[in-house]
Symmetry: C2
């Protein structure tokens, strides 16, 4: 089923020309078309119907899984069914981590099953599991203070409260190897979430190749706090951890792309999308099913309205954002020199709560242009433009100089659900979904149609 699109254009452009004095008029120029797109989005039902199918009928879709293959094939069909052209799969080899059976129990001071989820890419335990005393730390400083004499042979529990995703996720990403460096035999990480609802949140981790690979799992905030309290009160806590996780040979997978070819400059491309893969729990609704279905329907709306911008608008459903970034890298590699023809890349990977606008890694004049365009989105509350855009799927494009935008939402509850069994369809309201779709439709249309193009921020 994999088709490779031979790179047809090998033109290398030197620097992306930015727009000059006509820019401030964009919001006026596109007022009419944006109102049509927004109205169509706000009454759309097909997008949410597709999201419902993806969530309820295909379900979670970890890289390497059969469900992901189904989602990819089905996505390609959907693109064709709405009339996108050049629908194709761009092959990517993806990591094939499988969870296997897993559990954790506190075995001292009493027996209690823990709410756990192994971290993605973790090794498993030996058969029969491991049992060890737990040492609890709030951060890496405390770990360092404990030192090897207190850590060797133990399971390290990182009980770091949520202080925003960026500052907190480092314990999930690197905690196992930093504990292993002091001789720990396992790592437990308080789930990276502000919500304590006995819900473990998984996510990927990386090993420092210089350290022994020890098994690592997330536990619910409650379980982490409880064990930390017991330990702080002088009680000896032991945990039995059993994980059947293993990493199989890389699996064949693919990005899915489809185009609404431009009317004047079809080789210039605005790409928008998100990622097909999810974790293996929940339904991958907020992360990132809503994004790919909203992107697809955003472009479908242009077709339905008979709109065709000057440049091509491409929907990209990248693969393997969660635990490898192979999709974004494969897409970049597949483009070759054509990457210079990408005038903008828009990634939606922050959930589908009420949209508020875009983060954009562009230069100052381009940001002014975006602020002008964003006026068209003020009516749906999405008129904000902030610095710093991007996303794991479009990172390779941005590294090649493509201006990158991240669709942004209020994100009030995103990390309540993120990477957990609770990332399910009910978390995406039809109203918010439509607003995101509207925002994507307007932004991608204008970027594809406007006279000039954005320039990436200086690197």
């Amino acid at each position: 089923m994999f088709k490779l699109l031979a790179p047809a254009f090998l033109v290398v452009v030197s620097a992306a020309p930015s727009i000059a004095a006509d820019a401030p008029s964009l919001s006026e120029r596109y007022r009419g078309v944006s109102e049509r797109l927004i109205a169509a989005a706000m009454s759309d039902t097909e997008g949410y119907e597709r999201l419902t199918y993806l969530c309820d009928r295909i379900g979670p879709r970890l890289s390497g899984s059969a469900a992901l293959n189904t989602a990819i094939a089905w996505s390609a069909e959907q693109m064709k069914s709405v009339g996108l052209e050049n629908v194709r799969l761009v092959p990517a080899k993806v990591p094939n981590w499988v969870r296997g059976a897993e559990s954790a129990r506190m075995t001292a001071p009493y027996d209690l099953p823990l709410h756990m989820l192994g971290l993605g890419m973790s090794v498993g335990t030996p058969p029969g599991g491991i049992t060890a005393e737990v040492v609890a730390v709030s951060d890496f400083n405390e770990l360092a203070k404990l030192g090897r004499e207190n850590v060797a042979g133990k399971i390290v529990l990182y009980n770091e409260p949520f202080r925003g995703y960026g500052p907190t996720v480092t314990y999930r990403s690197t905690g196992a190897s930093r504990a292993a460096a002091l001789g720990a035999v396992g790592a437990l990480v308080r789930s990276v979430t502000p919500l304590a609802a006995q819900l473990p949140h998984t996510g990927t981790m990386q090993y420092d190749q210089a350290q022994p690979k020890i098994p690592a799992a997330a536990v619910s905030p409650e379980d982490a706090m409880m064990m930390a309290r017991l330990i702080a009160s002088g009680v000896r806590v032991k945990v039995h951890l059993e994980m059947g996780a293993q990493t199989l040979p890389d699996a064949d997978s693919a990005n899915v792309i489809g185009d609404l070819p431009g009317s004047e400059l079809p080789d210039e491309i605005v790409v928008l999308g998100g990622h097909s893969d999810s974790w293996d729990v929940g339904q991958g609704a907020q992360d990132d099913g809503a994004a790919i279905m909203a992107s697809l329907e955003a472009v479908s709306l242009m077709k339905k309205l008979g709109l065709r911008p000057r440049r091509t608008v491409r929907v990209a459903i990248w693969v393997n954002e969660e635990n490898g970034s192979r999709g974004g890298e494969a897409y970049r590699a597949w483009l070759g020199d054509q990457v210079s023809k990408h005038v903008a890349a828009i990634e939606m990977d922050g959930g589908a709560e009420t949209p508020r606008g875009y983060g954009a890694s562009v230069d100052e004049p381009s940001r002014a242009i975006l602020r002008d365009i964003a006026r068209l989105l003020e009516g749906i509350g999405a008129g904000s433009i902030t610095a710093q855009g991007g996303g794991e799927d479009i990172r390779p494009l941005m590294e090649a100089g493509v201006p990158g935008l991240s669709e942004q939402t209020l994100g009030t509850h995103y990390f309540d659900w993120h990477h957990s069994a609770a990332d399910t369809l009910d978390k995406v309201t039809p109203e918010d979904f439509r607003k995101n779709m509207a925002s994507l439709a307007v932004m991608s249309y204008v970027l594809a149609d406007m006279p000039g193009r954005l320039a990436a921020s200086p690197r």
Copy 2:
């Protein structure tokens, strides 16, 4: 360990005399003592330390469990350690429902484990479980419309969204028998909670003895919504339900009571407390560990401050509120005619979020008195007095004419945690715990010391 207190006073009073014109001065009269109690409560650490021990060291304590016995014995010790007098256990036989191993899986249209908790007092399934098609209804009207021809042999899923505890809990309480009346073989109930976090919430149910007893379980809101969506889209959903639940012979248990005897009218009693039992998941922190530990410490504070009101203040830790109400009934029966000497009963069983005041089932003049007393609590935000007080533990007292008050909190998140694995210590903030303790201390002290007594609302 059980000691019976022989009823010593058999005086029957006709009607509780209510207070007259001196009432409006109560808030002035008790300003000084209330400020001392509140200050002591707001700097107290012992109460929360005891709650921590109860949650982390004793844990969940379902009626009939060994942990409940531990909690009861430990509570009596704690009462003694703070200097309460007449500490004793009032025996009660309690239902002994045990969950056993349980699970539920959706088996069609695909295989998916469900997030479930059997309902308290449910029968189990036959060994090996049951597998049946699921019919979904939003309410009893829809069930009736389906009729026996569509329900017989099926599992009924009640997918009623949370519309407040009272209106919604009826599906949990009576849904199984109402489904059984139409031939259903099992009942699944969307958890009675406003929060969808893949967390099942248990709770008790009752069988209509005229109907076959079918197994009943709660499922997470997400799982309920998901199955209902699939069914609504025409997909046939099947579930395999396996529950090892059984009800063993009643177990010996007890209420724990302890007094701060009154200085002038020691046979007149203000009783305050909550219940020792909890569900068998989580830690019973909000429901109702915080209440019993706050009640105990509230009276301990009076001792520490050298305060002794005219009447006796009694801390009561009733048993079996969750699935039988046997503790409250046993206490009432044990009192006999002495119940008339109870001048007020205060139950705290609405969690330990920020207190806002009291609901009170008293007559109008008494409500005015309470409003006056509640002025003393305005500084901690707990100055509200509303009609309708009570609680399952003090219901039998109220039925005997005792004025009943329920300590009330904001309750913002109470039903997010209620009866679930997430009812853990972290949900009780020390600050809110102290405010509840302060509120209980002031209200119980004034009611025990003031010149007159409240009168219950006319029945």
